[in-house]
Symmetry: C2
Subunit: 228 residues, 2 copies
C-alpha cells in the first residue's frame, strides 16, 4: 500500500453526475487517505449524495465536511447536525469568527459527536492580502486557544506553513496541517509536505484528469518518499 | 399595507417540516419585505425546499441566500450556481475574504445573474472581539471597493451601524444595512433602524412564537413609525 498524504477534494463540475464522481473516487481510492466534500457538492447532491460517496470512502481515515463555516454557533451547529450520523469525521470552519458564541460551542458540539475540527487560518487567493493576511497572528492565537485537530494553510503559502508549524510546535500545540492549492491553483505536489504540512488537498488535478489513477499514484509516490 | 422593514430569517428548528415553515411564512407574509434562507435550511430541504418556500414568497422584495460565503471565487460561484434560477435575488458573503480571487469574481458573477451582493462586515457574537472587530476598518475598506448592494451589521452593535453608515455616506457610498440580532439575540425591534439600518432580520422571535402574525404586526408597526 502506498503511504500517500492525499486528501481528495470532491468538487463537482457543473453537470457531472454523482455516479461519475463515485466512479472516479473508486479508481483513485487506494492512493488517498481522505476525501473532502464542500458546499458545491452538498447543494447539488444533498445528504443522499454524501451518503453514497461515503459508502464508497468509508474505510478512509479522513471524511471531511468543508462548509468553511463562518457564522454564530447555533447556525453552524444546525448546519452540521444533519451530517453527524452519515460518517463525517472532520469539519472545517473559519478561525476568523473567534471563540465565544462561535468556535467554542462548535468545538464542544463536534467533540460530543466525535468529529474533529479543522480551522482555516490562511487562504490562497490574492484577495487574502486585503484582510486575512493582516490578521494572521490573531488567527493563529484563535487556533492556539481552540486547539483544533487541524488547520488549513494553502500550499501556495509555504512560508506560512513553515512559520505556523514552528510557532505552534514551540508552544506544544500539535495540529495537523491541511494544504489545498496543489495542481489547479499552482503548487507542486509534495511542496506543502516539504514545508511542514501533513496532508495535501487535491481536487481537479486528480478528479478531472484523463488518467486519475496515474496522477494519484504519481503524487502518492512523491508523498511516500517525503514521509519516509 | 404596513411599511415594515422585516426580513424573515427562515432557520429551521431540528424537526420542523417544511410544510410547517411555509404555513408560518404565509401567516406573516403581509408584514415582511423579504426572507433569508441559510445553510441550516438548505442542508435539510435542498433546492426543492428553496423552490417551495420561494413560491410562497415570490412577491417579496428580498429573497436572500445566506451561505455566509467565505471561500475562493470558483467554490463560491459553484455553490451559488444551482440557485440562480430559483428566484433568489440577494446573496450574503463575508467581506473578510477580500477581493481578488474572491469577492471580485463573485460580484461579477452575481451581477450577470441579477443577484445583489451583501457583505458581512460585523458579527454579533462575543467571539467577534478575537479577530473580526480588530479588522473593522479593513472590512469597511473591502466594502468600499466591492460596492455591494448591502452590508450586514448586527442590531446588537448600534454604534457600529451608526459609524459605518456615516463613514460610507461621507464617501458617497450608498449601501443598505441589514441587521440581524433582533429578538432571540437580545436587540429590541426598531433599535437597528433607529441606529441607521435599513432592514431588521428577525427569525425565531417571529417564526417560532405562538402568535407569529401578532408579533410580526407589532414589529411592522414599530418600523412604520420609524420609517415615516
Amino acid at each position: 500500500m502506498v503511504m500517500s498524504r492525499i486528501i481528495l477534494a470532491i468538487d463537482p463540475y457543473k453537470d457531472v453526475e454523482i455516479k461519475e464522481l463515485i466512479a472516479r473516487l473508486t479508481r483513485v481510492k487506494s492512493y488517498i487517505v481522505g476525501i473532502k466534500l464542500g458546499l458545491p457538492f452538498i447543494v447539488r447532491y444533498g445528504i443522499m449524495g454524501v451518503r453514497s460517496i461515503i459508502e464508497e470512502a468509508c474505510d478512509l481515515e479522513h471524511i471531511i465536511l468543508d462548509f468553511k463555516l463562518a457564522d454564530i454557533a447555533p447556525i453552524m451547529i444546525s448546519a452540521i447536525e444533519p451530517f453527524i450520523d452519515v460518517g463525517i469525521n472532520e469539519a472545517i470552519a473559519h478561525a476568523f469568527i473567534g471563540l465565544k458564541g462561535g468556535l467554542q460551542e462548535l468545538k464542544e458540539y463536534l467533540n460530543k459527536n466525535n468529529i474533529r475540527l479543522i480551522l482555516v487560518i490562511s487562504m490562497s487567493h490574492p484577495g487574502s492580502i486585503d484582510v486575512i493576511d493582516h490578521s494572521l497572528n490573531e488567527l493563529i492565537r484563535v487556533a492556539e486557544r481552540v486547539k483544533p485537530y487541524g488547520i488549513v494553510v494553502p500550499a501556495t503559502r509555504p512560508r506560512i506553513i513553515r512559520m505556523v508549524r514552528e510557532k505552534l510546535l514551540s508552544r506544544g500545540i500539535f495540529v495537523k496541517i491541511y494544504s489545498p492549492g496543489i495542481g489547479a491553483q499552482g503548487a507542486e505536489p509534495g511542496s506543502a509536505l516539504r514545508a511542514g504540512a501533513d496532508y495535501e488537498i487535491i481536487g481537479r488535478a486528480i478528479l478531472f484528469s484523463h488518467k486519475p489513477e496515474e496522477i494519484a499514484m504519481r503524487i502518492a509516490e512523491i508523498h511516500e518518499k517525503l514521509v519516509d
